[in-house]
Amino acid sequence: MRAYLLEDIPSLLTHLGKDRQLFAPQHIEDGDLHWLPADAASEPALDSKPLLPLSSPKAFFFAERETLFRFDGSNFIETLPEVEPQALFGVRSCDLCAITYQDQFFKQDPYYQARRQATLLIGLDCLEPCDGGFCPTVDAGPFVREGMADLILQHHEQGWLLIAASDKGKKSIDGLPLPPAPSDWQVQRERHEHEIAARFPDATHIEAGVQFLNSGEVAATTWEAMGLQCLSCSGCTSLCPSCSCFATFEHPTEEADNGFERERCWDSCLYEAFQREASGHNPGAKAGARVERFWFHKFSDDYTAEFGRYGCVGCGRCERICPGVIGVHSVMKRISAQS
């Protein structure tokens, strides 16, 4: 990877924005942060102390809702997305780990890949722990990992450190006059990351929880008690950047007598009927089992061979938005207290 010094963000935005639609996290009137279209005049939120938009960039690749195909009465016609080149500017390491995870999960999915291939990822190193995040514990931050972004930005005393982290990234900054970064930038960056990781609040409940979960020592009654608290609101699965379940559904079109479109939309394994069959048989009938399985999917070693990491990237969103008080911190504390 080669690194440069960038004086100001607008110049990079202008350059990248020449042939791409830019998106960046931006504040709206109530102070909250959302992924919205950006241009050189925008003020992307690139604070050292990160505030994660509640909606992760997941929807840029795994669409919340999209048409898969249409049937015109005789043929089933695939409806791939029309994608313009785009760039996501200022993605935090946790969300980038989740994108990498989903790149692997959706590797055969043409809809996901069409959007993914058209996207340049500009990552942003976090220089302070965010509220509720625990990325160091799950090897998902605070700095952007190699191979997960095309460009990486980091606040620097002289403006910004800009790392060309992939061929695509290198190409994207061709033509931008950038002095090289100091020669020891890599060593400095590594040391810097250790310092920041050490400042994260205690996460022993996460480590312990993961251990007990994998050793099968969590009592069924613990899961059942937490299951009682689950309202199946689907907030966790909507906002979790590594969640990938979807439902398919259809509606008629006017194209032919029996013309229709099949769509898919984000689904949630916490819904009671997620696994319910037409016969009524429902392996997921009990809330405790559903809750348990969600955490198994996020923290079980059974998945690491395929993905190289846990599903959980330590972003902390689920804790923030769960009305039932069973987000990641609550669950892991409960598990490690019981065991």
Partner: protein, 274 residues
């Protein structure tokens, strides 16, 4: 070749009633549609335009003309809509899916008991046919239904009666029926006809029944590696993406739908809550 989630057009070639609320359908490709070969135990997804898509096990596997069949029971919206369709009507097809890991090689030459309950007979038909083709394999079938009207695969069973010992059991007593109860009530009887303890058991039917059957044979000393269950799950994509058919860290549509009892127990054990 169509995209991953895109059906190909097929049509209903034939259909006939085959048990209460059950119908035997034969499907054939339309136009450019190419239907790949499949292995016993695999399944396909059928789209009924406007009513969704559901998974069905092959009864007869696709032949060289791409024709295949399934025994389908009317239980919900999609199957009700399918039952209103006639010969020649256009449907959608995606498949084959699953591993089809009926372990044919492991079963050949052995003494095998096939245990079917309710609509679980159809998914076993292709393996029964495959094993019947091997002279060394000793095969026996025990099949439970609610009552004679509820039985499926009348034609297939008529042929099979000449080729292997079959016991048909009924939950409800009906005139002339000898074996009352579930298949598990008559194990000794079928094994007597089969000629001894089975070296492998293949089962399909309500999950409760399959679990009980596995327990029974474990107690009789059979290894959990030689007991095979064909599972049913809610499925949408058939390719391990939508998540609905999860079973521990496995997706039934990809790794299954047939699992050995040992593997199934391991996967089920990842969830302890009830």
């Amino acid at each position: 070749m169509n995209g991953l989630l895109i059906p190909q057009p097929i049509r209903i070639a034939e259909l006939y009633e085959d048990g209460e609320d059950s119908r035997h359908f034969t499907f054939e490709p339309v136009g450019d549609t190419s239907i790949q070969q499949a292995k016993p135990g695999q399944f396909f997804n059928l789209t009924v335009p406007g009513h969704g898509e559901a998974a069905f096990t092959y009864l007869s596997l696709p032949d060289s003309d791409g024709r295949c069949s399934a025994l389908i029971r009317k239980v919900g919206d999609l199957t009700s809509a399918l039952f209103e369709r006639s010969k020649g009507d256009l449907l959608g097809y995606r498949g084959p899916f699953g591993q089809g890991i009926w372990p044919l090689d492991q079963l050949k030459g052995k003494r095998v008991l096939v245990l079917a309950g309710g609509c679980g007979l159809a998914p076993l038909a292709s393996i029964i046919e495959a094993l019947l083709a091997d002279n060394e394999t000793q095969l026996g079938l025990i099949y439970g239904s609610r009552d004679p009207a509820n039985q499926n695969l009348e034609r297939e069973r008529a042929a099979w009666h000449k080729q292997l010992p079959i016991i048909e059991a009924f939950d409800l007593p009906a005139a002339g029926t000898k074996y009352i109860g579930t298949p598990l009530n008559h194990i000794d009887a079928i094994l007597a006809q089969l000629g001894g303890e089975p070296e492998a058991v293949l089962t399909c039917g309500p999950e409760v029944m399959m679990n009980a059957a596995a327990d029974l044979f474990i107690k009789r000393g059979l290894s959990g590696d030689n007991i095979w269950l064909a599972l049913e799950r809610r499925m949408h994509c058939g390719v391990g993406l939508c998540g609905h058919c999860y079973l521990g860290s496995s997706y039934v549509c990809v790794d299954g739908p047939v699992y050995s009892w040992n593997e199934l127990t391991r996967l089920r054990g990842t969830t302890t809550a009830t």
